[in-house]
């Protein structure tokens, strides 16, 4: 059965800390891995990764994919309270070719 597992499920840090969120997967017909940030509205798209070892960056956020070990990490440096959200990992693949979502990591950044 296809699955996407995120860890930790929740995380509390202080402003300025660096955090690493993990996403491992077992998905047939892998096409891509995506990260979303969910706050008070619909999940917003962060990154899409298709190739191993190529880091994608956007400001203080970066992500990388390891297709051999079947995982991805999302790094956030110099965290701010505005980074508090649930971060969703989703893998495109499976028998339907749809997105298969993990349960998310709830990040809380304290002042």
């Amino acid at each position: 059965e296809d699955k996407v597992v995120q860890s930790p499920l929740s995380l509390v840090v202080h402003e300025g800390d660096t955090v690493t969120l993990n996403c491992s997967y077992e998905v047939t017909n892998f096409r891509s891995l995506l990260w979303y940030k969910q706050e008070k509205k619909a999940p917003t798209f962060l990154f899409m990764l298709t190739s191993s070892g190529i880091e994608k960056k956007s400001g203080r956020l970066s992500s990388i994919l390891d297709k051999k070990e079947l995982f991805s990490i999302l790094n956030i440096t110099a965290t701010q309270t505005g980074d508090s959200a649930i971060y969703l990992c989703a893998v495109e693949g499976g028998s339907q070719g749809n997105l298969i979502f993990g349960k998310g990591t709830k990040l809380s950044v304290k002042p």
């Binding site: 969910q38 509205k41 798209f45 339907q96 997105l99 998310g104």
Partner: protein, 115 residues
């Protein structure tokens, strides 16, 4: 064991037809959502129901009508299907409304193709 289920998984239909997608959650959640995934993998919210009441209705054509017979079900009915309706539609649920404390659980998606 399935938390959020959608039927059908695939839907191929002709322009002008009317179709429905069903969603059910067995998590006891109060809020359910419909999203449309666009070609850029963005998830666009269409509707949200809380305890069978519509709380969010984003700018979607009137051809799309959600129906919630009970809080465990949120079905999406689409009239007069158009080519641009082709997409993957995701249903999701959460215990309460949107917020950083409310994880959303997503269904497997329904891939709609309009010919």
């Amino acid at each position: 064991d399935t938390a959020v289920s959608q039927t059908p998984k695939y839907l191929v239909t002709q322009m002008g037809n009317d179709k429905s997608i069903k969603c059910e959650q067995n998590l006891g959640h109060d809020t359910m959502y419909w999203y449309k995934q666009d070609s850029k993998k963005f998830l666009k919210i269409m509707f949200s129901y809380n305890n069978k009441e519509l709380i969010i209705n984003e700018t979607v054509p009137n051809r799309f009508s959600p129906k919630s017979p009970d809080k465990a079900h949120l079905n999406l009915h689409i009239n007069s299907l158009e080519l641009g309706d082709s997409a993957v539609y995701f249903c999701a649920s959460s215990q309460e409304r949107w917020g950083t404390n409310n994880e959303q659980f997503f269904g497997p998606g329904t891939r709609l193709t309009v010919l």
